[in-house]
Structure formats: C-alpha cells, structure tokens
C-alpha cells in the first residue's frame, strides 16, 4: 500500500566564489530555448520579440555574483499555489514545468516561489517562465555546460517519489496481476 520510494534527482547549484558575472549562462540558456536551438549568432543577430527569457537569474552586487535557477523542489510551492494547474512537477523526472497553453500569467507562482526564479513573460500571452532543466536538450543544462569557471554544477539530492503517475504505474501493475 505504501507508495513512496527514494529517488535521486539532479539539481543545479552555484558557487558564488568563482562566478565572474559574465552571464554566459544566460546567453546559452536563451539560445538553447530559441527557435534557432543553440545557435548563438542567429539567436542574437536580430532584435527579436520572440527571443526567450533566460531561465537563470544572475544576481549581482559587486564583487558578488551568482546564477540561480529553479530548484525543481521536492515540495514545490509554485505547483501547489498555481491557480490553474498549469505548473506541474513531472513525477518521472522531478522537473517542474509550466504548461504555457494553460498558464494565464496571474503570477501566483511568483508570489509562492521561495527562490524568486520565475519570470514574467509578456512576449505573446502573459505566461510564467522558468528553468526547465533543458529537458528538450536531454536534461543536460546548457548553463552548466557553458560556464567557463565551473561556477554552476550539478549535485544530487534524494527525494521521495510518490506522485500520481507512480501510483498509477502501481495500479496498472496491480490490474495486470489481477
């Protein structure tokens, strides 16, 4: 009956001691999510209204700087607060993403997120924008890959995995057995 098991999730962390504030993480993030997929030149050559917002937030107050992005929390406040159900945590991957088609830009998630890592995106419709752990790039975040100083790194955390999809799998197995 118990349906919780431990899973290891990956999370991006940053080391402010070695961040130089070059913002390459932002640039690569934008390019990776642009229509030109990772092509920096094309992404930035023209002034484009469609150019995505970066999913990373670089905070800076000389001499300190560091990048910060969604923690893909174990208990995501944004998901629990979202008034439409657009923000969801994927039970398989643990990645928290926003379903742009259902988001209405009410900013309740911005109110709720303890890390302040959700941006207001006004490009087409108002929607909430944040780090998606580069799942479309095979879950290899480009910010980490392209940080020249290794100020961003991926760490492992242990989470309880106990969300709906998992329980479903349980059901299907159970039904299969019956």
């Amino acid at each position: 009956m118990e349906n919780s098991n431990k899973v290891t999730r990956r999370r991006i962390y940053s080391r402010e001691e070695v961040c130089v504030g070059c913002r390459l993480c932002e640039i690569y993030c934008i390019a990776a999510h642009s229509e030109y997929k990772n092509d920096l030149i094309k992404t930035f050559k023209k002034i484009s209204k469609r150019r995505p917002l970066p999913g990373i937030i670089v905070e800076e107050r000389k001499p300190i700087s560091f990048g910060l992005q969604c923690r893909h929390c174990e208990e995501p406040e944004c998901v629990k607060a979202c008034i439409t159900g657009a923000m969801q945590k994927n039970p398989e991957t643990g990645v928290v993403t926003n379903d742009a088609a259902r988001c209405i830009g009410c900013w309740t998630c911005i109110l709720a997120c303890p890390y302040g890592v959700i941006r207001r995106d006004y490009r087409e419709r108002k929607i909430a924008s944040k780090c998606d752990f580069c799942m479309e790039n095979g879950g290899e975040p480009v910010c980490v890959k392209n940080c020249p100083n290794e100020a961003l790194y991926i760490g492992n955390v242990v989470e309880e995995s106990n969300m709906v999809e998992e329980s479903n799998r349980g059901f299907r197995e159970m039904e299969g057995r019956a």
Partner: protein, 417 residues
C-alpha cells in the same frame, strides 16, 4: 473501505493527490453539485473576459479521475451526513458509506438582505454557471453594476471591461480592496480603473434593486438611481457549512480543524474555504480563502486520511492579482497595529508601490504593486519566520534578491529546494 470527499475543487484535488502518495488502492469517491470536471474557480473571470476557452478551464487533466481511481459523482448535492452510520446522503436519497470523510464544500457568496434580489439578471460571481449566465447579457455596450470592490468584484470588473461593457463598481468603504490596500495603493488602482472607463463609487451602497421581472437598475443609499442591464454581487464569501450545520460537527465561522485537518469527529476532515484552519501570523484559527491554502489543507487532509501523520500549520493569506495591466501581490498582514512597523516605498514615476509590515524581528506582511519580481523571497521570509534584523533596510530595494541576504543565509538557501 473508501474515502469520500464532498466538493470537487482545489481542496478536493489536493486531498486526492495527498491520499495517492501513500495509498494507491482504496477507492475515492468525489461528490459535487457542480456538474463539471474539476475546474479552476479563478478562471471564471478569464472565461468571461474571453481570455480562456472552456477546454482550458480545467484544474487537472481530463484523465485525472481515472488515473487516480476516483469515482466522481457530479451534478448532485449531498443532503446530509450521518456521522454515526458513517454515511453521506445525497439529494436523491442514495447513501454512500465512508471510512474517512473530507468536507471540502468551499465558500458561498455573502448576500445581505436587499430588496429586488429575486429579479432576473442579478448574479453572483463564484461558479462557472454564474459566468455562463452573465455572458449572455454582458454584451458590448451594455451597462453593469458590480457591488463590492474587493478581489473577486474587481476581477469581474476587469472581465466586463474586456467585453466592452460599461461598468460601475460600488463599495461601502472609502477605498478599493479595503482589506489589502491603503490610500496610496487604492489611488493607484483607481487611476487604472478610471483610465479604462470604469466608474468607481465609494462610501456608498446599494439600497434596492429596481425593475420589473428583470433588474433595470439600482438605487443607492444617497438616493441616486443607476440604470443598468445587470448586476453582479461580489460582497465576499463565507464558509459554506450548510451541509453540516446543526450537527455535532464543531463549526465556528468555518469547520474547525487542527493542524492535521481533523475535525472534532473521528475520521472526518475538512479543508479549503469551508474550514477554519490555523493562521500562524494572526495566531488563531480563521478562514483563509485562497487556492494555495485550499490545496495545502486538502493535501494535508489526504495524507492524514491515508494514515500518514502530516502537519500544516503555516496557513496565511497571499494573493496575486493582475488588474487591467497592474500587477498586485500581497501576503500576510495588511494592516498596521500595535507592535507593527511599516515601511513603504512609493515611486510615482514608475508607478510602483511596496509596503512591508514588520513585527519584532520578522516580516509579517507585504504589498507590491507593479514591481513584483522575486516576491516569493519575501513570502518565504514570512513563511519561515526569518529574523530579518540584519538586512531589514534592504527590503524593497532595487534588485532585491538573495544577494540582499547575509552570506550565511544566502548559502543555506541556495542549497535548498
């Protein structure tokens, strides 16, 4: 063995997800008098404003019930609960046994006695069915009176403006959003409303609704007559405890629950707008009628119903409201009082306003207009009752973020999640 949930909204969904973390077998029955798949209540104003289509009103995917082994019984009201026999009696006299029951019956509109309420074209603004009726009469060029300039009233106003309706909104208080706004905040929002052609009448109220079979106008306290085609009443919600009133279930304003969402009756839980849970900033039990709270209470109830001991004692009010281009966020206390210090920053040119409420060494409330980015960091300071004395002067500063926190605190937070 079976879980029964009365209500099919935020708290109910939270409960299903809470139960299914730990119990994937036991059937769950959801009962609601509304006939729809679980939908997002706040979206009714977006639907009315033409911003969201019916198929995007839903709070969870179409296969939510199936995936979670939920049997929905929709479009039928629960009539009573027999706590001794542990059964819910429906309007059609059928009975449903429960081993654990969650009452998530939400809120109901507060409507003071008023002459002419029975006329046609007088609406509430709470349910999907309300806006399905309103959209028939809210045609371009028509005239509407909205009574109540708080959260839901203003969301109705916004939707009507988007439909090209001429709107007058009335509130008895001397400012709009009286529970959250001060003079400054109110004047910022008033300016926006007036720029959109909305007429705002404060310090007055509706005395009487006039007309024949259909409402044709209202008469105000000062005798003034306002002709209109329809009226929306948005004077607030109350806990909906109709189903269980005059039973042995303990009700104050709402159903009284502990920090596991248990009521005074064994195996009976309550959550969401119907419940009166603990507000840790106010230090007392009270209704906290917002989605984040309804979800958390529902989830906690579900986890406990499934046999896990989980506590939720961190409820407090928080709200985000876009209004005709303004962004407004508030959380926690929004009134000064004994022992509370207030810090306010108004920037006329940028049209931004930030206000913080500090008690002892803790942030206990804030209001942000327009510059709302990273608001959640403030919410988190409230939620975790952080000692802010080392960086209090930085609240509201330009570019506020983790960089504004002392290094130790920042490092600890950056490893969190």
């Amino acid at each position: 063995m079976s879980y029964v949930i009365i209500g099919n909204s935020t708290a109910a969904v939270g409960a299903v997800e809470g139960i299914r973390k730990y119990d994937i077998e036991t059937p769950i029955v959801i009962i609601s008098d509304e006939p729809y798949h679980t939908y997002s209540r706040p979206l009714i104003s977006y639907y009315l404003g033409g911003k969201v289509a019916e198929e995007n009103m839903y709070y969870r995917s179409r296969d939510f019930y199936e995936k979670n082994k939920v049997k929905p019984i929709l479009g039928i009201k629960a009539k009573s609960v027999d706590f001794d026999k542990k059964e819910v009696v429906l309007q059609d006299e059928s009975k449903i046994q429960y081993s654990k029951l969650l009452i998530a019956t939400g809120g109901k509109p507060f409507i003071p006695p008023l002459e002419g309420l029975d006329k046609k074209n007088v609406f509430n603004f709470i349910k999907f069915d309300d806006v399905k009726e309103i959209e028939k009469v809210a045609v371009k060029g028509s005239r509407a009176v909205v009574v109540g300039a708080s959260f839901s009233g203003l969301k109705a106003v916004e939707a009507l403006v988007q439909r090209g309706v001429n709107v007058t909104v009335i509130d008895i208080m001397d400012r709009i959003m009286p529970r959250v706004f001060d003079e400054t905040a109110s004047s910022i929002a008033l300016k926006t409303l007036r720029e959109h052609g909305v007429e705002v009448l404060l310090k007055t109220t509706v005395e009487k609704i006039i007309g024949g079979e259909n409402a044709e106008g209202v008469i105000l306290k000062d005798g003034r007559e306002l002709p209109c085609n329809f009226i929306i009443l948005a004077m607030g919600v109350r806990c909906n405890t109709d189903l269980v009133k005059d039973t042995k279930l303990k009700i104050n304003r709402g159903i009284v629950v502990d920090d596991r969402m248990r009521t005074n009756i064994p195996d009976v839980y309550a959550a969401g707008d119907a419940a009166e849970g603990y507000n840790f900033i106010e230090g007392r039990n009270m209704e906290i009628a917002i989605i984040p709270n309804a979800y958390r209470q529902g989830e906690t109830a579900g986890e406990n119903m499934a046999g896990k001991e989980r506590l939720f004692n961190k409820g407090f009010i928080m709200n985000s409201m876009p209004l005709l281009g303004l962004s407004i966020i508030s959380a926690g206390l929004s009134e000064s009082g004994e022992g509370i210090r207030v810090k306010a920053i108004y920037k006329n040119r940028e049209n931004t306003y930030k206000k913080f409420y500090i008690r002892d060494k803790k942030l206990v409330g804030y209001l942000l207009i327009n510059d709302i980015d990273r608001a959640g960091i403030y919410t988190d300071l409230i939620r975790r009752e952080v000692d802010i004395s080392l960086f209090e002067d930085r609240l509201g500063e330009e570019g506020f973020g983790f960089v504004s926190l002392p290094k130790e605190m920042r490092k600890e937070r950056m490893l969190g999640g």
